[in-house]
Amino acid sequence: MNFGANIKTMLKEAELYRSQGLLNEALQQYKTVESMIRENEHVKNRDSLLQKISNKISMIKAEIEKFDKPSPPPKVSEKVQKLMREMFSFDDPGIKGSAALGGAISLAEFGQYDQAIEEFAQLIDYKNLRMEAAKNILKFGIKHQGADPTVSRFEKWISDTRFTPEDIAVLKHYLQDLLKHAGIESDLDRITAAAAIEPESEVDDEDLLDISAIHLKLPKGPQKNDKIELDVNFQHGNQINLIVSQKEKGIIESLDTGDLINGVTFYSPVAIFSGTVHVMSKKPIGAGPKRGDFSINLKIIRIEAG
């Protein structure tokens, strides 16, 4: 085969590879043809041919780059999520609820992290699945959301009564290993020590009036500095309980266990006064008509004079 015919065949092949989606093979072929033409000065229309090949090479390189570029896994439809849950999880008849745990693991493995973490979080309510669910939240949390939100989630568990101190010790060790493996430094000892300290209340239970509602400025989160008013669900001495509807995501995300909030106004049937509260706990309600809403316990630490 003469030089021209050979080049023609090779170019045709390169285009055929491209049509098959075999981009690396097409690129390699174009590069070979390009160097063959460069080495032969007698090729007719040499410059324009080289220009055309160079354009092709650039286009293919751009396509390859697009495919090689790491991108987060797409969120799939509910139907596909159901398939992932059912087809790729294996039920252990010895462990009640293992299919739900397996389903959530499957979702996470397929990159459906948000949905998976939501499902793991629900499984924390079940004693036999609690630790596995928590470990998976930490594992996939580090992978998907990074260290800070995952450590912060762990921090909340420290004051979550569903976890025993022994559970927290196991989870801390597990998280420490995950962070170390990911090359991330984090002082979990300091976090666990700090979380154990709950401020003492200066308020005498006996002196406190019945509080019907409170008014406060949200300290952080998506609704930071928003002023909100919440009804008190019940009061026990210097501790008050609030129920926040699950629809109020902004409020729920702005209040975390351990937060100290100043400038809170307390409304009682006979007086209005202000002070500081400590968020003792924040938990989703697992059963009953308010299932999914959040129960938030506050301790009144201080009452401002005057």
């Binding site: 065949t9 045709k12 092949e13 055929l16 590879y17 098959q20 989606g21 075999l22 093979e25 396509e63 697009k66 495919f67 896994p73 797409p74 799939v76 139907k79 596909v80 398939l83 992932m84 087809m87 790729f88 294996f90 499957s106 493995e109 397929f110």
Partner: protein, 205 residues
């Protein structure tokens, strides 16, 4: 892992299409979906990128009807072929009962075929399965491209490269035209059901 319910006389097994990227695994399933309408019992699920590359898996459920007194259902899956989706391939392969290895007949894909077969071998090994023992069929795909001027490997060469030790059934095919697609699946189903019969004695005499 097949689900065998002897009381209800039902078998559900999983066949996985394996092979290098762009070898035609999804095209095999598309052809089956289009052609074997009677056997197809649900929608074909495909999760791919905008460049038409399989991202997680393709899924197609089939019902083969009564075989030896049992209602046989088959789940067909493809794995993503691109090298970077190794962990997804492992996940899809979990619980597999039979494998169809789709090899690309293009000369330029020779090495990729061999690498993908090695990858299959390693992934099966991780699940304590043996490539020499699992029901396996080789499909030499894209044979139709010869007429379009693509340089293809000969069947003999592909047999030497991929099947010298395995010695499993092989089929020439073109998933694009449908040639060999049904034959490959039928053979894999036969081997799989035979294998399951040996293990679980499900068939009625």
């Amino acid at each position: 892992m097949a689900v065998i319910n002897l009381k209800n006389r039902e078998i559900e097994c999983k066949i996985v299409y394996y092979g290098p990227g762009r070898c035609g695994k999804t095209t095999n399933l598309q052809y089956i979906h289009k052609t074997f309408r009677k056997q197809v019992t649900g929608d074909m699920v495909s999760i791919d990128t905008d460049g038409d590359r399989t991202l997680f898996f393709d899924f197609l459920p089939l019902g083969l009807g009564k075989i030896k007194g049992c209602d046989v259902k088959v789940q067909l899956y493809t794995v993503p072929g691109q090298v970077q989706y190794r962990s997804t391939r492992e996940l899809v392969l979990k619980g597999v009962d039979g494998v169809i290895f789709v090899a690309d007949s293009l000369k330029v894909r020779r090495e990729k075929n061999m690498m993908s077969l090695k990858d299959l071998h390693e992934n099966l090994k991780k699940m304590n399965m043996n490539i020499m023992k699992i029901p396996l069929v080789l499909q030499y795909n894209k044979r139709d491209l010869e007429s379009k001027g693509f340089p293809l490997m000969s069947i003999e060469q592909m047999e030497r490269d991929l099947n010298r030790q395995l010695k499993v059934p092989h089929f020439s095919a073109s998933a694009f035209t449908g040639e060999g697609v049904g034959g490959t699946l039928t053979e894999c189903m036969k081997l799989t059901l035979k294998h399951l019969q040996k293990e679980f004695q499900w068939a009625q005499a």
